[in-house]
């Protein structure tokens, strides 16, 4: 029976979904180039900022997993009728949550903890596993600390205070991970403390869990309302009382907006989405690595938008009978996702502009030039052209395969060879700066006589990146505008597919199969990308780069200004919004989905 309960628990039921998500996140980290340029995920050997980014991502994923498994439930209501003690029920729940979240962490570590090197073949990166072990033990401690309040209750009351307590605990855990010693041995005492806390809770569990009066489920057990013998309507109310209770219409409008917002977004998943979107908005504009996270940030935005959009179809049910325009409801479902993203991006811009040393788009580090992906190039025949210099020095860049079993490679035209001279490096940096910022090609005569006394680490003879600090790039802005338009064009049909699958009118077998085909095709594409990075030299980051390069080439070819590009993109987004809005206005809030959600809330 315990095995059956474990299998059917919210934490382990549909385990494949969180595992797939962590698989995708892990591959994204690895594939988009983060791990290749910075080191593997959770590797304590990484520098502080990288360790921060990795721990933050892993920690956020574990939080999402914990929320998804409804950690506030000590026992489902139905299980209370089984001949099992609350201690057993609680252990089953905790076990299921640990299995679910542990699987996510394991997948993340697995993807990043296995490396392939020519000559060595596949081998494990031990430090990654030790890093994951630290994360796992800290997660266990957080889970136990979150279970501390009133062990008598079968369900922890998710009051605002409890949510604040959760947030503080979670941040505290992240701080310990980030600032504490990175020794893997730290996992042992943390795990011991977690077990002691767990033991304390276990000892305080009651003989039978209590239902709390404030939980929604309890309404079925509450005493029935006694019919009132109060005076009839007209006598009971006095006209003088009415203005106090019935405010002006402006207040009711505010109430309506607040109600719709809370209905759509005021739940764990909603706030998680909003927080993450704000962070990904920030990541979009604040200086981070080479700005190669544009694709990743947008992918996250649209993934969360999709999740939230599908949630809103179910959540519309309580207000479906009210005379409220569906357009208004759609706006409340949509804008709270865009606004945090935009605010995050705005904050990023503000931080960048107020920094003492603004970032550069072109960087020179570890003897290599780093540019955003879109400034790389594609070699369809698999042979990158040789880069020459006025003085005859040459270098042939390495190509990274885009797709398996094809010759197409992505290469960096500003790459510097291991044996290249400092003059060549300077030429490459200047070329990169000119390409990114749209400046004229550098004058070859500059490199004939190398500069003397270049003391700074980032300075080589003939160039100075300080001059490009804080400078924008029109071409990059245009490319980004096209990227947003492209994602909108992809996202809108995807969202429509989601609504179609939820819509019980979609009876026609062709449409039903179209939904399934679409979903299967997307998963197949992602699977194919992941598989290609495993079985061949193709890399996901190269596929992202290939997309960005194509968009940059298109941006170069179109004779439009940055403003015009954004106007076109704005138009595409507006059309997408209207299409989705029109679909939303005619969408049926399926009773099937509502009932399913009520079952999930058990």
């Amino acid at each position: 029976m315990i095995r059956l309960l474990l299998r059917r628990d919210q934490g382990t039921d549909n385990l494949i979904i969180p595992v797939l998500i962590s698989l995708v996140v892990g591959f994204l980290f690895r594939g988009v180039g983060v791990t290749e340029s910075t080191g593997p995920l959770f590797d304590p050997g990484n520098n502080n900022s990288i360790w921060f980014a990795h721990v933050f991502s892993g920690w956020a994923l574990l939080l999402a997993g914990m929320i998804g498994s409804h950690f506030w439930l000590r026992s489902p209501r139905l299980h209370m009728a089984l001949p099992l003690s609350p201690r057993t029920l609680w252990l089953v729940r905790m076990g299921a949550i640990c299995i679910g979240c542990g699987s996510m962490l394991f997948m993340l570590a697995l993807i990043n903890g296995v490396s392939f090197e020519t000559g060595r073949g596949l081998h494990a990166i031990r430090s990654v596993w030790l890093g994951a072990l630290r994360l796992g033990s800290m997660f266990l401690l957080m889970l136990m600390l979150l279970q501390l309040p009133d062990p008598r209750l079968r369900r922890l009351e998710t009051t605002p205070w409890y949510i604040v307590y959760t947030a503080i605990l979670w941040c505290f855990g992240a701080l310990i991970l980030l600032l504490g010693p990175r020794s893997p041995w730290l996992a042992a005492p943390v795990a011991v403390i977690a077990l002691l806390v767990g033991l304390r809770i276990w000892r305080h569990l009651p003989r039978a869990f209590l239902l709390v009066g404030t939980e929604p489920e309890d309404v079925f057990t509450a005493p029935a309302a006694v019919p009132s013998t109060a005076a009839p309507a007209a006598e009971a109310a006095t006209a003088a009382d009415l203005p106090r209770r019935f405010p002006r219409s402006g207040a009711s409008r505010k109430l309506l907006h607040g109600t719709l917002f809370r209905l759509m977004h005021n739940h764990w998943l909603g706030w998680l989405f909003i927080t993450l979107l704000a962070i990904y908005g920030l990541v979009l504009t604040i200086h981070y690595d080479q700005g190669n996270d544009l694709v990743l940030s947008l992918v996250y935005f649209f993934v969360f938008a999709f999740g939230s959009h599908n949630q809103s179809i179910v959540r519309v049910h309580p207000v479906d009978a009210w005379p409220i325009s569906r357009r208004l409801i759609f706006a409340h479902a949509f804008w709270p996702l865009v606004i945090p993203y935009a605010l995050g991006a705005g904050c990023g811009v503000l931080i960048e502009q107020t920094k003492a040393r603004p970032s550069t788009m072109v960087e020179f580090r570890k003897g290599q030039v780093a540019t955003p992906y879109e400034f790389r190039e594609i070699a369809p025949d698999g042979v990158p052209p040789t880069i020459g210099s006025p003085w005859g020095e040459t270098h042939t860049p390495r190509g990274t395969p885009v797709l398996p079993w094809t010759d197409v490679v992505v290469y960096d035209p500003y790459e510097i060879g291991e044996n290249s001279s400092r003059r060549f490096a300077a030429l490459q940096v200047d070329r990169a700066v000119a390409a990114v910022h749209g400046d004229p090609a550098p004058d070859p005569s500059r490199y004939i006589e190398p500069a003397v006394g270049a003391a700074e680490e980032e300075t080589v003879p003939g160039f100075d990146l300080e001059a490009s600090r804080g400078r924008g790039s029109d071409l990059r802005a245009k490319t980004f505008a096209l990227l947003v338009a492209l994602f909108t064009l992809l996202e809108v049909p995807f969202l429509l597919l989601g609504t179609l699958s939820a819509d019980r009118r979609a009876l026609d077998w062709i449409r039903s199969r179209a939904v399934m085909t679409g979903v299967v095709a997307i998963f197949a594409l992602v699977g194919l990308m992941l598989a290609s990075s495993l079985v061949s030299g193709a890399r996901i980051w190269a596929q992202a780069a290939w997309l960005m390069i194509s968009l940059r080439r298109l941006a170069e070819a179109l004779p439009l200004s940055v403003g015009q590009f954004w106007l076109v993109t704005g138009l595409a987004v507006a059309i997408g919004y209207l299409v989705l809005q029109e679909r939303f206005t005619r969408l049926e809030a399926s009773l099937f989905l509502v009932k399913k959600k009520q079952q999930d809330d058990y």
Partner: protein, 296 residues
């Protein structure tokens, strides 16, 4: 004047499985119509179509002469709706919920809302999620009727309520009916509720309208004939135009006929030649069971 009109409505959730299969009937102004049917007969689907929450795949629905799919707001403003499936936002206090409804409905009657609040002894500051099921239903009714709707739609409104709460709910509805003269369409599995409220009964079975008659006419002109078993008799009975269903029971064949007992006896004796049958008048509950079972 017809307030609500269904014309050949068809609706399915799965291919080839019509929940509603050509439903047609109308509800006139001031009428109280009880919608009956077994679970899955299509009552909720029909009501949701009237509310504009879902659309039929075929057929036409008119509420106040308008199409609910095209003018949902205008229609919803003139309708009060309470459903067993309905969930009010749990995070709202009763006061906020009432204030919100006041803003949504132009004809909101503050005095009526206050009066119902006092009658039900509702605490304005209490959150909806902390209410008992009965109290939550009372709040839903308050919100549904305080704007004096022209059409009140109740979908299993008393489902899950204890007898006292159910009685109170019905009394309020009847009182409102008397005060405002609203048209009411309600579905229920409690036949006693239907007998207390409805003037007309529409029974759905397998997605079709099986009965659509005034309640007193049904009670007058409906009989069950209990006839001895015989080879092929069930088929013969089903062939009678007045037959609504035949049930094979231990004591004999239970046959529901749309005739009063005396005329039912004559009809059976004339057409089948069976003289040893027993003929009784039917209460609404027995009628429902006999017809529903006899049809399946």
């Amino acid at each position: 004047m017809t307030v609500l009109e269904f014309n050949d409505i068809r609706r399915a959730y799965r291919r080839g499985e019509n929940v509603l299969d050509g439903v047609s009937f109308g509800v006139g102004a001031g009428e109280v119509v009880g919608l009956l049917g077994r679970n899955g007969a299509g009552k909720t689907t029909l009501i949701r179509i009237a509310m504009g929450m879902i659309e039929p795949q075929d057929g036409e629905v008119r509420v106040f002469g308008m199409d609910p799919a095209r003018d949902p707001l205008e229609i919803k403003r003139r309708i009060g709706y309470v459903s067993e499936e309905q969930t009010l936002p749990g995070f709202m206090s009763i006061g906020d919920l009432i204030r919100l409804h006041r803003g949504l409905f132009p004809d909101w009657d503050d005095m009526m809302a206050e009066g119902l609040c006092d009658r039900y002894d509702l605490d304005w500051d209490k959150k909806v999620k902390t209410l008992s099921k009965g109290q939550a239903r009372q709040v839903a009714l308050l919100c549904a009727v305080s704007h004096k709707p022209e059409l009140l739609i109740l979908d299993e409104p008393a489902g899950g309520l204890d007898p006292a709460a159910r009685r109170d709910f019905l009394e309020t509805s009847i009182q409102l009916l008397n005060e405002t003269g609203s048209t009411i369409l309600f579905s229920s599995h409690h036949m006693s509720d239907v007998e207390r409220m409805a003037g007309r009964v529409v029974m759905l079975h397998n997605g079709k309208v099986l009965l659509d008659d005034p309640l007193d006419e049904l009670q007058e002109n409906m009989a069950v004939a209990i006839l001895p078993h015989a080879e092929g008799r069930a088929a013969e009975l089903q062939g009678m135009p007045e037959c609504l269903g035949v049930r094979d029971r231990i004591e004999g064949l239970h046959t529901v006929l749309r005739l009063d007992p005396a005329r039912a006896r004559t009809a059976v004796e004339d057409s089948l030649g069976v003289r040893d049958g027993r003929y009784d008048r039917l209460g609404l509950e027995e009628m429902f069971i006999e017809i529903a079972e006899g049809q399946s």
